[in-house]
């Protein structure tokens, strides 16, 4: 067995976080921590013109997790078929590879809602000015379940104009998710990965969860603007309803020239090496729990070449209960990212 067309790649991210005690659950003094944030290895093979396969694993703390593991069929004119473990098509920021994010961490709402990877079957197609995806998945909420949970997730993006460095993307996505009594719970950090989860919702034995999201992406030469709004309605098995919502607005500006690339309805990497200035406002609300959070971030990224990237973010985060600020703190995060 010979592997003629075969691509091995990967990336490692080293992170340093320094943050106030207020971003810890029981913190008494500020913390400085380092970690390997992600270490990923990917194998991609073009089986032939019609079939493509990908296999990706993540290594962390002694564990290895299968991320992407799918087979894609590109032989139909109306849509491509993907079978296996894959990202569910919900959320522009979630669908953006972690290597290509504007900020070091994704926004609270993306982390809280976006389903991530599941075993399933999906279709993705392209019409004039439109990208669409639709999939049926068996998310893995619980490992001992006798019955796979199920989810239908879809996304459509209208791109009224699209040139290399000038485009507008307007997207809508939804996900209808059966939980069969498995637990749903909001448990989120305020966009600092080595700090603690301060946003803690009720533990809900969920019957089903409905997600909706709106996306805007505008690329105009050196300037990128990206924003999403998402909401989740959770029905418990005792017929109670819980609502959550949030969103963010973020921008990037290529100080050294160039632009952010866009491909198949997703944000991709910068076109040129050099400096990028970024900023974000992000918020998240647990409506019935009467709990909120807000963050403001500014950042500076430096892309050395296709393999090496540096990122720095300053984050100001505030946490509210019943409308009153219960904690507020600052953090700085640095990342060295190495792709191969």
């Amino acid at each position: 067995k010979k592997n003629d067309i075969f691509d091995l790649s990967g990336y490692v991210m080293f992170d340093y976080d320094r943050f106030d005690a207020s971003l810890l659950e029981d913190g008494t003094e500020s913390s400085s921590l380092v970690e390997i944030r992600r270490a990923r290895l990917s194998l991609k093979s073009d089986i032939n013109d019609l079939w493509e396969g990908k296999f990706q694993v993540d290594v962390a703390d002694g564990d290895i997790d299968i991320k992407d593991a799918y087979l894609e069929y590109k032989g139909w004119s109306f849509a491509d078929l993907t079978v296996g473990q894959q990202k569910e098509n919900f959320g522009l920021e979630k669908l953006t590879s972690s290597r290509n994010l504007l900020m070091i961490e994704r926004s609270m709402v993306t982390e809280a809602f976006a389903p991530g990877r599941s075993l399933g079957v999906s279709l993705s197609g392209e019409l004039p000015s439109v990208y669409w995806q639709l999939g049926y998945y068996a998310p893995d909420y619980a490992t001992d379940s006798e019955e796979a949970s199920s989810a239908v997730t879809g996304r459509i993006a209208w791109v009224p104009w699209q040139e290399n460095d000038n485009l507008l993307h307007l997207g809508f996505a939804f996900s209808e998710r059966e939980y069969d009594g498995e637990q749903f719970r909001i448990n989120e950090r305020l966009e600092v990965n080595q700090a603690d989860s301060l946003l803690e919702g009720k533990k809900i034995d969920a019957d089903n969860v409905s997600l909706q999201g709106l996306e805007i992406l505008w690329v105009q030469d050196r300037f990128t603007l990206m924003s999403e709004w998402q909401q989740a309605s959770v029905s418990s098995i005792e017929q109670e309803d819980y609502d959550y919502e949030g969103g963010y607005v973020q921008f990037g500006y290529q100080l050294s020239g160039g632009f952010r690339k866009y491909k198949n309805g997703k944000l991709s990497k910068v076109s040129d090496q050099g400096w990028e200035l970024t900023g974000r406002y992000s918020e998240f609300s647990l409506i019935e729990e009467n709990e909120d959070a807000e963050t403001y971030t500014i950042g500076l990224n430096y892309t050395l070449n296709k393999n090496v990237k540096f990122m720095g973010d300053y984050i100001k985060a505030e946490h509210f209960e019943a409308g009153t600020s219960v904690s507020s703190g600052n953090a700085i995060s640095f990342r060295v990212q190495y792709s191969f």
Copy 2:
């Protein structure tokens, strides 16, 4: 250090199982489950004409397990020497790579008895019309043991005639295994991997285990017939004896033409792409426990190309205690298999 002759490969299997509640220990309704059945990565290197190395890992549920990890010396005329972790040479179906099985799962008797991989040293040779293997192994029954367990396992196959698409293979294999008080227990599913283990033998503090097996493989053009009979005698440290036995008959028929390949005393992949019809009868008996099981399976496989294969099986399984059927159920299993 440059790696001139080096082969990286792997495979991923995605499985869907739907089965009756009767195939679960405490099931009340039928189940549908999906899983990544196997995800394997292999490195093979031809060191030179005389030495060859292989290293293979399996990734599952956060864990990574070393499968094959051995060094093979091919410099002697009478036999090849293999040192390291390797499959013990017992059981035609076990020695068949999971990528090349006729059915989605191996038979009950193979799963129950065949030793699988152990650290050890083995010889494998070829005489006119005969393949033989003999090895001394240190199976890893318990991790805290002060003393490695040991096993001697051998196999001989007589192949009275052998052309590409026309051969007869008659094999015998044995394994004499020291347990030193480690536990032996039959704990098997009825050939549906995501269902529960219904065949549950006594937990025996074993002194030693003797295994014997008979193998028949007949390939005649599009038709492949394969059958094994195996038995195990377990002596406990209290001098009690327990006996187990079982076997299967299975066939494959290449609807689209071609034949099943055969190599070094083992079944290999199909020669051509296309459809294959399969069937199996399988049984297993725990004699002292007076417990039995039987399965009937029919299946259909489609080999798209050397990278992609689809399999579907319908299984009818029955479980007996003291000769009386205690549960019986049906299952369907589908597999998408991607090799790279």
Copy 3:
């Protein structure tokens, strides 16, 4: 994304140990055990002339651990910069790759003191006749800590003369390590990996640890002499001091000719295939605990080619408490090592 300059390699070591009951904590009879001692996979990429990246994982017992994971910048004339997870520069034997050791296991003092790999930043440079390294690290003593521990580790080696097969290396290394109350404890085997840890020091809630080490390496044609002396001073958070010290002298002699290579202040592999005779005397003392150990080892290595190496060691170990021998035993170890 195409990977033009990219190097995948790895190695697997298979070990057999047979040792007396006295090398086990509660042993009653001698033991024979086998194991896969190390299974490592490395990816190395030359990003360009200035940047280089390495990623290495170790697979063992279901776990996968990130070993080297760093990015190296070689663009400055005075020093190279390394960012990420890397070996701290302490101890000649520790810095020698496990593939190139003279004996199967490293000495007690190296295993007890040398910090191994940490996340951090280091500089390494070269002056006429001098190699130096200096780094700042965040060792991972505890996983739940709110504050990263920190360490400054440095090493300098003077090489008064250096030809291919004739050199003298005199080195000094230190490490100043903040523990912030995390536990320090000596817990070492007597250079037989599958035996038990007999050297057991007090569990100390450490405030800081100071390490110092001296190194000599002398290569003269077929003969290699290598020796280190190291000491550790541990201050507990209750202001108590504990001292530990130890060292070894070991040699290698290339029976078949050739010599041991030396590169960037570290011992490397043999220049030619063939036989190597080795020997070692090693000792270690827990001063306040009044506990000591000594080992004598002789060994024979055979390097078949750049991929395959065999090693055999005979070890005589003795363990003293308050100056009195409490146990003494013999062991033999064999290794088959396969690099690819």
